[in-house]
């Protein structure tokens, strides 16, 4: 039986590899808050992943509850933060973006969060000129 020629196998694998490298988003922060986003009907997809900054709002996860209690927290990158720190976070994120006017802030907040937290964040976002926000949600019919 003649042996199969496998010399093109690496090229093939590389092609698949490049595909995944392009579609992947490495921004996977370890979540320190748990949240169930609301469900809506008029949702839009988040285009341009590179221009999106995420703000997580919710109570600490079960493992961290003993240490931090169960009041609502705001998570930026890998740590808890106060609303006023959002401005620095936005500026930092903006600096690493190629198209700074396209910056979108995605707010991933728990359904039961009190609006006070969201209003504070919104106020800071306005002051930092990050006006495009996206309230993260799941689709419902």
């Amino acid at each position: 039986m003649p042996e199969m020629n496998t010399s093109s196998l690496p090229d093939l694998i590389f092609t698949i590899l490049f595909f995944f490298m392009i579609v992947t988003t490495m921004r996977e922060v370890t979540l320190k808050v748990k949240f169930v986003v609301p469900a809506g009907t008029e949702l839009e997809k988040l285009e341009k992943k590179s221009a999106v900054s995420f703000i997580y709002v919710g109570p600490p996860t079960d493992q961290l509850r003993a240490q931090f209690g169960s009041t609502t927290r705001i998570q930026l990158n890998d740590r808890y933060a106060e609303p006023r720190e959002v401005m620095d976070f936005i500026y930092q994120e903006r600096q690493s973006m190629s198209d700074q006017t396209a910056q979108v802030v995605s707010i991933k907040a728990d359904q039961r969060t009190q609006m006070g937290y969201i209003t504070d964040i919104k106020e800071v976002l306005r002051k930092s000129w990050a006006l495009k926000v996206n309230y993260s949600a799941t689709h419902r019919n």
Binding site: E28, T41, L46, V104, M115, T119, V133, A137
Partner: protein, 199 residues
Amino acid sequence: MAKKKRKVPGLNASSTADISFILLIFFLITTSMDTDMGLARRLPQPPEDEEVKQELKIKERNVMEVRINAQGFLWIKDGTGSGFGDIRELRSRAKQFITNENNLSVLPEKHPINIPLLGMCALTDKHVISVQTDRGTPYNMYFQVQNELVAAYNELRDELSKQKFGRVYGALTDEQKVAIRTYYPQKISEAEPKNYGGN
């Protein structure tokens, strides 16, 4: 100096496949193919001077107020009346407010405006829907209200697009979209304007 030509030994490339396989598996695991969805909103620009309060005079008939209290109850007020309302009636109420089909004197005033592709139209371009919340309002309720209001606009735009161009809003050309957007501008105020001007 005739140098003896030496043959370059071929590089053993048999492990490239393995290396790329490892990389492939790494990206397969870290990738998140799920697309993030959400309700896109635009915040108002920051006030230029904290001292100067907005002197915007908005006629009362042009304002629809939606207040959500800490218990998550809705209170809706427009020219036709005010009182506690249900989230399910908000969409139709908003549509009725935005269109003012019968040109009632208590709903937003209409101005004739010339829009490219649509011609002269009477629009309620001065209307504002103001959403006010309490610090204790559940986020979910706020989100649902926003969702219903955006839905009202989207439905109106779709209706108009079908009537004028025979297609839904999403399938229009950019030019047509601009025309429809001028007809039904989205005016949901997220700021907290406390004092509106008189009648």
